[in-house]
Amino acid sequence: MTLGRGPLGRLLTYAAIAGILIAAVAVVQPDSFQTQTLAWVAVTAIMLIGFNLIFGVTGQMVFSHSFFWGVGAYISGVLTAVYHWQLLPALLVAVISCAVASYFFAGLLVGLRGFALAIASFVLPLTLPKLTDLTQSYTGGVNGLTGIPLPVGSMATYLMICIAVMIGGLWLTQNLVRGRYGRAWRLVGYNDTMASSLGISPQREKVVVFVFSSSIAAVSGALFGPIFAFIAPDSFDLNAMLSILVGSVVGGAGTMIGGVIGALLVVEVPQLLTGYAENAALIYAIILLVVLRTLPKGIAGTAVDVAYRYGITRMSDLLTVLRRRTLRPPAAAPAVFAGTSPAVSFAPALNGRSVSLVCDGVNVRFGNLPAVQDMSFTLGPGDFLGLIGPNGAGKSTLFNVVSGFVVPTSGSIRLGDVELTGMSVPQRAALGIARTFQETQPVGDFTARESIAVGAHIHARYGYIGAMLDLPRSRRVESEVGAYADELLQSVGVGGAATRRVGDFPYGDQKLVQVARALAMRPRFLLLDEPAAGLNPDEVDRLGSLLDRVRKQGVGVLLVEHNVPFVLDHCDSIIVMHHGEKIAEGASESILASAAVREAYLGSSHPAAAPAREVTA
């Protein structure tokens, strides 16, 4: 399906598609009206590709993009029409201004999410007509800006340029989305708590995507002006934003190619129907309602899902299926637990001398309720510390203090000499503290391999430029990450299913993948929140042997768990909490013998509180 294998093959494929489209324009020579419409399609597609980055990939509901579209169009339009600049420098000025403006705007918006974000960003497009009013002498106010020159001789040539830019944009963003940044952005959209626990700063990534997609909107705007030689505030009003939303949702918001499909739809469909101008909004709205109820992932997203159901996750898979000539779902890969065989390394990836994680006199109060009282412990490299106690004992709160989700009322958490209190969750993750969550939280359509790879985000380093251009370095890092992910999956016993989506896995395997994802950070310390809950005995064994290997390689493990036999078997030291206080600490034998522990678990009057029986809670 691609011309040759690997990245170069992909580049050639995109170039070939662009070449074919451009040649088709040259051969067919559409009339001037069709040429104009097609250029409009290409420009809208560029806009949608950018919008899909923030709306579909990162899952942020923003309505501000018609504003940056308009601002890009106006800046470039005024510079070319009034000051007679060339299009290219005008476009660059437009893009840079929009990038700066959107950076500023994103910085303001970064604390908002969900509806508040949607509505606050909604305010921006409403100001565009007023802004053009204020700058009437340049922009023409409500009457619009006329006389935007075509930079090349004919509309057909301009159409070819637009197609080239569109395919180029598709290639760049597709590369970006496939790699580390795309994974991080998707994760931020699904679950920003988990993203931050893996060392990805959701706020930073959201700002980056926002600036990226607003800049692309500015490119699209600057290219839009010359098509009709005219722009007006209502080219970029709420109806324009609505058509963008429709195109995005119908085409497939989570995909880049969906932007091209969506653009074809929102530009061409109203053209085909008569009485276009007055019915456009109604048509858009009805299409949107129908698609939301029938194909919520849009055309491209649904196509990807259907292909996945038949085991096709890459273009080369499609080729295999075509050769085989039967379309059948892949057989379920047998879950083979590879035991201790693969040579996968869990050793902490961070350099420097080995340090201990110290929790020193931590107190947490929620209002008047003391949740954690004066807790102290030290976790050294290779230590395996268990934290048990009845429900409501404060285990999870303490856990959250260590990983940074809860700010303690007093006390400190240190890593060696480094004070962690006051550091954000991603900062702590970058210092080598990994955690898992009680619930499995499968992240949307992430495959097992992607789930692990996103865990390795902080190590799989390469820049945005490298990612976009698919440079050798980013390619090498990606293949290393993929190989490492496969080994890790092997070591938790789901090696055969690397390209399957984690959401399709049985519960136990999902939990094990979660542990593997945290391990992919190559952490100094691994904090596990009830990893054995809900696992069957075989899975508990797999988890146990995995953790034993992990700590042997020098990773300190802190385990919160209700499965007491599991804790007794694996931990070399155990802390028992009750009502926020430490009531016992020591090796498993001394914990079993402790009267305070028996009282906390079984009550003082319970006959089993006599010290002869074993605790099996």
Binding site: G111, L112, V123, L245, L282, S410, T421
Partner: protein, 305 residues
């Protein structure tokens, strides 16, 4: 002084519209955790149906009933046929987003259908209790303004009474507190949801009936009301039923006084900017406070060691 009092009355009239629409938003949000963006169109259609029916010469109360009935119907239709099915369907990133988009689309369908029916002409004003004036000291105020403000207060009291003095109100409040748990307690979630949307539709349509004679209402006013109502709701706190009232008053005051004293042309711009600041400010205050506390914490830790 006279001017200021007049501005005050006109801002309270605007605030009544925003507050009632905002309570409609909150009723919808509290059950399904979705913003019904077609709320403003219910306002607009309530006003149009009322004025059209009143124009045929039937008694006014019949026209009011028609307007209210339209609001109730639209509330339930949007819940049953747009929001709930889409939410069950799912979407790549959280189905509340998809449902919000669905209500945006529904709102546009309603606007466009109203356009086909009534065109772009302005709505004739039909005042409920005539258009006389009342003198309070030296101050003259129109009966129509008093009707709006009084009517809004009555509507809010009615919503309060439904929520706090009826069995279904108790169920509604339970659902607002925790939609998941109440379903396990044998409360019929679907009924409660529909009743919430119904009540929200009714008071939104009533807002349209009351306020439209005083402001120019066209078929495109729906979207504007949606936006200002939702801004008031967000500033007041989404899901905090009465928080929208002070926010609505603040926005109304801002619009009236800014457009009179500062700039008429850019009044909207100023108000949008103020609302935008009100929306983003709480986050930055929190950030600043968190920085302060972690700073003192680090200092405390330093002195301790």
């Amino acid at each position: 002084m006279q001017t200021n009092l007049h501005l005050l009355v006109s801002s309270l009239v605007l605030a009544s519209a925003y507050a009632l629409v905002g309570i409609g938003y909150n009723l919808a949000y509290s059950t399904l955790r979705v913003i019904n963006f077609a709320q403003g169109q219910i306002y607009m259609l309530g006003a149009f149906i009322f004025a059209t029916v009143a124009g045929t010469g039937v008694p006014l109360f019949m026209a009011v009933l028609a307007g209210i009935g339209c609001g109730a119907l639209l509330g339930i239709v949007i819940e049953r046929f747009v929001i709930t099915p889409i939410m069950r369907q799912g979407f790549s990133h959280g189905n509340t987003q998809a449902a919000l988009l669905g209500t945006v689309a529904a709102g546009i369908v309603l606007t466009e259908m109203a356009n086909r029916f009534w065109g772009s002409k302005e709505l004739p004003a039909v005042a409920l209790f005539g258009s006389g004036t009342v003198h309070i000291g030296s101050f003259t105020v129109g009966i129509d303004s008093l009707t709006v403000i009084g009517g809004a207060i009555v509507c809010m009291l009615a919503v309060w009474a439904i929520l706090y003095r009826t069995p279904i109100g108790l169920q509604m409040r339970a659902v607002f507190a925790d939609p998941q748990v109440t379903q396990l307690q044998g409360i019929n979630f679907r009924t409660v949801t529909s009743v919430s949307f119904l009540v929200g539709g009714v008071i939104t349509a009533l807002a349209g009936i009351l306020v439209s004679p005083l402001t120019s209402v066209t078929t495109s006013s729906g979207l504007q009301l949606s936006i200002l109502g939702i801004l008031a709701t967000l500033v007041g706190g989404l899901g905090r039923m009465w928080g929208v009232v002070p926010a609505a008053v603040a926005i109304g005051l801002g619009q009236s006084f800014v457009s009179y004293y500062i700039t008429n042309q850019y009044a909207d711009l100023v108000v949008y900017a103020a609302i935008f600041i009100a929306l983003v400010a709480p986050h930055w205050v929190r950030v600043a406070m968190a920085r302060g506390s972690s700073f003192t914490m680090r200092r405390r830790a330093a002195t301790a060691s």
